[in-house]
Symmetry: C2
Subunit: 313 residues, 2 copies
Amino acid sequence: MYRPEIKVIDCTVRDGGLMNKWQFDDKFVRQVYEALAKAGIDYMEIGYLSSEGMFSRDEVGPWKFCAEEDLKRIIGKSEKKIKLSAMADIGRIDYDDIPLKENSSLDMIRVACYVHQVDAAIDLAHHCIDKGYETTINLMAVSTVGLRDLEEALGDLAKSRVPIIYLVDSFGAFYSEDVETLAKRYMDSLPGKTIGIHSHNNQQLAFANTITSIISGINYLDATLYGIGRGAGNCPLELLISFLKNPKFKVRPLIEVIEQQILPWTKKIDWGYFIPYMVTGVLNQHPRTAIAIMESEHPEKITEFFDQATSVS
Amino acid sequence: MYRPEIKVIDCTVRDGGLMNKWQFDDKFVRQVYEALAKAGIDYMEIGYLSSEGMFSRDEVGPWKFCAEEDLKRIIGKSEKKIKLSAMADIGRIDYDDIPLKENSSLDMIRVACYVHQVDAAIDLAHHCIDKGYETTINLMAVSTVGLRDLEEALGDLAKSRVPIIYLVDSFGAFYSEDVETLAKRYMDSLPGKTIGIHSHNNQQLAFANTITSIISGINYLDATLYGIGRGAGNCPLELLISFLKNPKFKVRPLIEVIEQQILPWTKKIDWGYFIPYMVTGVLNQHPRTAIAIMESEHPEKITEFFDQATSVS
């Protein structure tokens, strides 16, 4: 039996783009878009919403901006086949650069923030709601947030008009018991709101923690094709769809687009389970040091990395 | 707080050898042995116990046999540093070829069997007990066993003298709820016995299902370095040791031996999460078709593989 409230959000282009500066060509993005629609996925998060000038288009691809003309090129002339989402980081988008929903192909804007940015995130999210968008706040790196700060943030979010709040395991540090404990706390503190999960795979627990989330009552589920995403990557969409019972979901279109568009990227960038990512996950640290060694000339020097990461000095 | 009854069994050489016909040189096996001892691992499963002549030594390495002279070469002249285990398959070892424990460096013999072989497995295990060994029975592919057959097998095992019975997810088909359900059934049906778990990683759930096993009261935990093992591989030992609380366990020696001995094998053989293994896991099928495509000239033809695997004809 399935829970109709469950929504699946694919973050392949947005989170995967963190590994290649969004250098996905239009063919890639269009095939992902078509495949997700065929597979019955609820939302495609197609990139970040940033103001032009915040980043150089020489360095990052179009999906760091999600300009309307870029979106239109993917959708083409026929009707839009799947709801589109973009993520907004605090301070990277001027309010005036966010179009009214009626002038945009985006359906949802998800505001990512750290705990000290919650007030700014609520302000930006309210602005997006008032412009007509579905909106979420994704509270990142919650594995490093102390109880008092968490309670204050959840209290502020409870009073906001934002209907969906995400639990984000940015560092891939959570075991299933952590997810259970936090899911309960979020639901107790945020009555009437929907909770989402965004997991990372540093300890090969992204899919398992997403299942635990479902069992714990979380209804918005993030995943990516073949787990592509920053560092160890995310919950693999093909595993999640194979698990979910709703017959509207089909896994074959996902396998097909993995074959055609994702497998070639496995030759060029390394996401997934590697010891440096495992180490930062276990230590509940930001993956930046792990990313640095993975991009260095000696990604195999994992003992040296372990010693540095665990050094108390 | 940790549970002192928990024992960790490394299966790197035994299960990893299924991927390279046990072509590990002595330096590899010795370094694994030293690292496991330093890390506080309870048992090293160093290979299969087979009669000479059952397999050709031209085709398979020494760890398909675990002859005493091979074991001695690894242990060297100093005292043995970690308990050694070997796996016995029904019909591959003559009883007369099993030495008395007092003449062997092995401490434990684990008998692997399918449900229809339970009587033969109990007979072999009793023989091993009578020769002085610690003994387990590892009931394989239990994800394909119907309730009546399972109850009969557990009834027989309950009446046996074998003290440790393993739940083996040979196909990597289990979700955590399956493990919970079966762990409870095993414990209810096997009063006074210890239960073990051996998981496969087809759905990236081998570690998660091992955690669920611990929570469910299972005390014998199988894992391998970097998850090396047949097909999608096993529960990664370095993740399990990072999770367990017993201060006798150390992860650094594991990282070190992964760097020196396991990472080089990642260039030569493909274990881990690949779509063909995911497909057989989701479908609760033996991985042999997935292994075949992975070893073929076109391991990337995953859509064709999916269509064949899911074909009803």
